[in-house]
Amino acid sequence: MRVGIVGNSHIGALKFGLEALQDDCNHEVSLWAMPGGPFEDKVKIDGLSLSGLPKVYSSSTADGGTGEDVFVGSDYDVVVLYAQSLRLEGIGQGLKEVEKCTSGFRDAYLREISVERFAFQYAKNLTAASVRTIIHAAPLFGEGFVSRKTFKGEATEFLRNAAASLSADFMMQPEDTISVDGKTKAEFLTGSKHLDERSRENDFKHMNAEFGRRIMKEILRKL
């Protein structure tokens, strides 16, 4: 099965995870990523194509850097839209705050944080062309990260329903990677990887190779 995974800097952890699973992976998986933001300004949707999105890794050659920068969804049996604009903490916080707003604003806002987002817009094109599509949430902030935005189950349900409305599947990180206070467990932070393979101190947003392995394993299991 040909699997195309599209995302941002979080693809870094998946790359290392995929390398670790190489021997157990019977699928042809390629990773496409545009790190840094704003993603929407750099990557453009044209039907089933995404332009300005470099291919960074292919499991078939165990290499990337082919110079390709146009992702064509119809070339794949399954497309996974990973992490981009899909941070559960922010969506959860927004869902809480919007309760105080008028119905007119609420309707517009809920559309904006779901079906009007980049991943959902592209997912709509893919599912309309019968390409199986999985929308995957970004990793939750790591333990130790102080934020007023915390993970709430409502956000998961909201995104799952939004994905279902487009006939797409929704996934988030496995339960056992989440701490009791709704953060990614600290063990997945150590040695966290960006796409540029550098680790940064006090990075509570990007996860390590083991996290990437767990995510890839779940994605492959879902296929």
Partner: protein
Amino acid sequence: MQNPYVELESSAFWRSAVADRSCFDVSDLWVPKFRFDRMPIYTAGSCFAQHFGRALSKAGLRWIDAEQAPTGSSEALKRKFNYGIFSTRTANIYTTPMLRQWLELCFTDTRYDEVWETDGRFYDPLRPMIEPNGFASVEEFNEARERTITAMRSALEEGCVFVFTLGLTESWMNKETGMHYAACPGTQAGTFDPKIHVFKNLSYPETLKNLRASIKLLKKANKRNKILLTVSPVPLTATASDDHVLVATTKSKSILRSVAAAASSDNNGIDYFPSYEIITGAPFRSMWFEPNMRSVRQEGVDFVMKNFFREHEKKFGTLRVPKASGRQIEENNDDVVCEEVLLEAFGRV
């Protein structure tokens, strides 16, 4: 002493202060009475006040954004629903009776309960365009109004510099209740009824009286509150006064300018900043206006704010930017939100 003029500064003489200088070098137009980097800043008033809020926020000062849109809202969505335009979602407050009414809602038992209904949607006569399609119900209208009042009250009670841009003297009101509207009924929402909706072109005493009543309420909220007045340089979109719109504009702005002078004279807690003069003054040859001679170009706004910060620093030294500054307003090139401009739709070609 030969005569009093002998000892005056060069800024008192047209030749030395204006005629012999490039207009870009005209300075000392303002000597601020108080600092802007020690207190949060609340902005309200007509369209031009929006520029102030943006510039103060960009400079890192504590611009108050007391009614924030939910996390993750796009700038376009915020603007559509008037979040982050003024310090609270009052929309433009063009006249001094409108300001008084908002402050009465915050600090007195006075209530303005009138609601406009159009095609099953409900509109706030104090801010008809605050929701692009009106409110779904009267209950929703009341809740939204109360949220704005609560946010405004809280911000003003905590203490701030209240920046208010005087915009218009022309107003429409309900002659039965005395309520002033943000717009003529029937233009943005509501239905015009000539039996109860009357045009009012506020005189100098009426404008000043309403401003003084507003200042009293602002001081009642917190006696430390400071007030900075400006006059919008933006001409009227339309006049209902029977005068030519240019004549009506001059009359209106003259009254507002005089009222600002009267309110700020001999009061250390109330200042006037001459953005009006910087944009409309003869030395500037209308260069700051767009070709329609109404909208102010961004360069004009930047020039106004450059003067503002320069004179502030001249008096008080380098601006002390607070560490925990208010949320910065996103910069964009969109026009400011100006409901009055909708009147253009009713003009004959």
